[in-house]
C-alpha cells in the first residue's frame, strides 16, 4: 500500500500549495497582478508561527490564528504602500514592483534575523495509525483538516457574505462595481487580507509538516503555488484548490519514482504544457481577444 501512502503525502503537500494558490488566484482575479510577494507572505507567516510557539509558548491553534491575523495585516500594508498607486500602470510595471517587494521582504528578513534556518518545534505527537495498510500520522490528518476547514470558510466568505459578493463584483467589472456603490479600494484590501491570511496559515502548516524554515523558503513554494493557480485556471477559486492538489500529488509521484532531483522541474514542465495547450487552465473558459 505504498501508493496510498504516497497519495496521502501528495495531498498534504498539495493542500499547502492550494492554500497559497488561493491568495494568488484571488489577487489575480481582482486586479490582474501576479503578486510575487505572496510566497514571502507565506514565509513571514511561517516565522510568526515559529516565534509565537517558541517565544510566547502558544499552542498550534493560537499560533495559527495569530499568524493569519498578522499576515492579513501585512498583506494589506503591502497592497496599500506598493500596489495601490499602480492600479493604472502598465502590467510590466506592476509585475516588476511585485518582484521588488518580494526581494525586499526576503532580504529584509535576512537583514533582521540572519539567513540561518530554524527548526520548527514538534508540537504534535508523532503517533500514527494504520489505514488500509498505509501509515497515516495524526499530524497529516490535522493539517489536512485545517486546510479543508479554511477552504470551506473561504467558500463561505466568497459566496455568502457581503464582502465576498463585492469581491466577485469587482473581479467581474471594476467600473460597474464602482457605479453600484462598492468601495473598490476596501474590497481589494479585503482580498489581500484574506489571501495573505491563507498564506500565513499555509506557512504555519508547512513549518509543522516539514520542520525546517528559512527566509528564502517562500520562493519555490510561491512559484509552485502560482503554477497551481494557473493549472486550475487563474482567478477561479475552486481551480486553485484542485490545481494545488494535482500539483502536490504529481510532485510526490515524481519523487516516489526516484527522480526527486527533478521534482522542481516537474512543476514548471506542467506550467509550460498548460500554458501552451490550455492557457485558461482546467476550469477556465476560453476568452476571445478583442481589439
Amino acid at each position: 500500500m505504498e501508493w496510498l501512502q504516497q497519495l496521502i503525502n501528495g495531498i498534504s503537500l498539495g493542500s499547502i500549495y492550494a492554500l497559497i494558490a488561493l491568495g494568488y488566484t484571488m489577487v489575480y482575479g481582482i486586479i490582474k497582478l501576479i503578486n510575487f510577494a505572496h510566497g514571502d507572505v507565506f514565509m513571514v507567516g511561517s516565522f510568526i508561527g515559529f516565534y509565537s510557539i517558541t517565544v510566547f509558548g502558544l499552542g498550534f491553534f493560537p499560533a495559527l490564528i495569530l499568524s493569519m491575523a498578522s499576515c492579513a495585516l501585512f498583506g494589506v500594508i503591502i497592497e496599500r504602500i506598493a500596489y495601490k498607486r499602480l492600479r493604472n500602470a502598465t502590467r510590466i510595471a506592476a509585475l516588476i514592483t511585485a518582484i521588488g517587494v518580494s526581494l525586499l521582504i526576503e532580504y529584509g528578513v535576512i537583514y533582521i534575523r540572519g539567513a540561518q534556518p530554524e527548526a520548527y518545534p514538534n508540537i504534535f505527537s508523532n503517533k500514527s495509525f494504520e489505514f488500509l495498510g498505509a501509515q497515516i500520522s495524526i499530524q497529516s490528518v490535522l493539517i489536512l483538516s485545517v486546510s479543508v476547514v479554511l477552504m470551506i470558510l473561504l467558500q463561505f466568505i466568497v459566496h455568502k457574505t457581503k464582502t465576498g459578493k463585492a469581491m466577485r463584483a469587482v473581479s467581474h467589472d471594476v467600473e460597474a462595481a464602482k457605479l453600484m456603490g462598492i468601495n473598490v479600494d476596501n474590497t481589494i484590501s479585503a482580498t489581500f487580507a484574506i489571501g495573505s491570511a491563507l498564506a500565513g496559515a499555509a506557512g504555519v502548516i508547512f513549518g509543522v509538516y516539514y520542520t525546517k524554515i528559512d527566509p528564502l523558503m517562500g520562493v519555490i513554494p510561491g512559484l509552485k503555488a502560482f503554477v497551481a493557480a494557473v493549472l486550475g485556471g487563474i482567478g477561479i477559486i475552486p481551480g486553485a484548490m484542485v490545481g494545488g492538489l494535482v500539483l502536490g500529488v504529481v510532485e510526490t509521484i515524481v519523487s516516489a519514482l526516484g527522480f526527486s532531483l527533478w521534482r522542481d522541474a516537474a512543476a514548471f514542465i506542467i506550467l509550460i504544457l498548460i500554458l501552451i495547450f490550455r492557457p485558461s487552465g482546467i476550469f477556465g473558459k476560453n476568452t476571445r481577444e478583442k481589439v
Partner: protein, 316 residues
Amino acid sequence: MKKSKQFWPFIVVAVLVYAVVQFLISAEIINQFYSNTLILIAINIILAVSLHLVIGITGQFSIGHAGFLAVGAYISAIVTMKLHLPFVVAIIIGGIVAALAGLIVGIPSLRLKGDYLAIATLGFAEIIRIVFLNIDAVGGAAGMQVSHLTTWTYAFVCLVITLVVIVNFTNSRHGLAAISVRENEIASDAMGINTTYYKVIAFAIGSFFAGVAGALFSHNFYIIQPSQFGFLKSFDILIFVVLGGLGSLSGAVLSAILLTVVSTYLQGYPETRMIIYSLVLILVMLYRPKGLMGTMEITDYFKLWRTPKGGGQHGK
C-alpha cells in the same frame, strides 16, 4: 542614415577606451581587483543589452535570462575543459547553443503574453538550471572547474560586437518591426508584420549574446555552479534594463555600469545590496515607471541641446 554617421565615431571611441584600459592594465597602474571589475562590467553590459533587445525593443517580458547565461556558461566550459578547443571557439559555440535554446524556449512561449510569458520564461530558466544540476558530467550541484581565460581583450571585443549588432538590428527594418510589436502587437499584425517571427528572432539574438556573456562569465570565475544561475541572477539582469529605461540602450549600459560598481563595493554586505536593489526597483516603478531614461538615448540629449526645437523627431 543618421546612425551610419555614428558608426565610425563609435568604433574610434571603442578603440580608444580599449587602448587606454589595456595600457593601464599592462602598465599595472590598475590592479587585479579593478581590471576584474572592468571585465565584470563588460559582461553585465552584454547581458543588459541582450535583455534590452527582448524587453525594451520587442516588448516581450522575459524574466528567465539567466537560463541562457547558464547554457552559454556550461557549453563553453565543456568546449574548453573537455574538448580542449580554444576559447574563441568556446565563446562562439556557447552563443550558438544559447541561441538554439532561445529558439526552443521562444517558439512555444512567445505565443503567450505579458504575465504568462514572464512566468513561462522563468519556468524554462529553472528547468535549464535543474537539467544542469542533474548532469553528473558537469559536476552536478558541486559545480565545474573552469580555467581562467577571460581577459579584458576578450570581454571588450565581445562587448563592442554585441553593441554594434544590437544597435544595427534596432535601426534596421527588423528592429522597426520589433518596436511596432512592442507598441501594439495587434496593430502591427494588422499591418502585415509577422509578429511571431520578429519576437522569436529578437529572443534568439538576445539569447545568443546572453550565451556569449555566459562564456565570458564562466571563464572568469574558476568554478560554475547551477545555483549561480537561479532567478536571482535573472532579476539582477532585469533590474539593469528596468532602471535604465525600458527601450533605452544607453540607459541599460549606464545602469549596468552603475549597479556593477555599486554591487562590487557592497560585496561584503549581500543583504544590504539586495535591499538597495529591491528598493530601487520599487521606487523606480512607483515614481518613474519608464525607468531613468525612458526610451531616450544619450545621443538624443546631445541633439536636444544643439537644436532645442528639433527634439520632437527623436523622442517619444
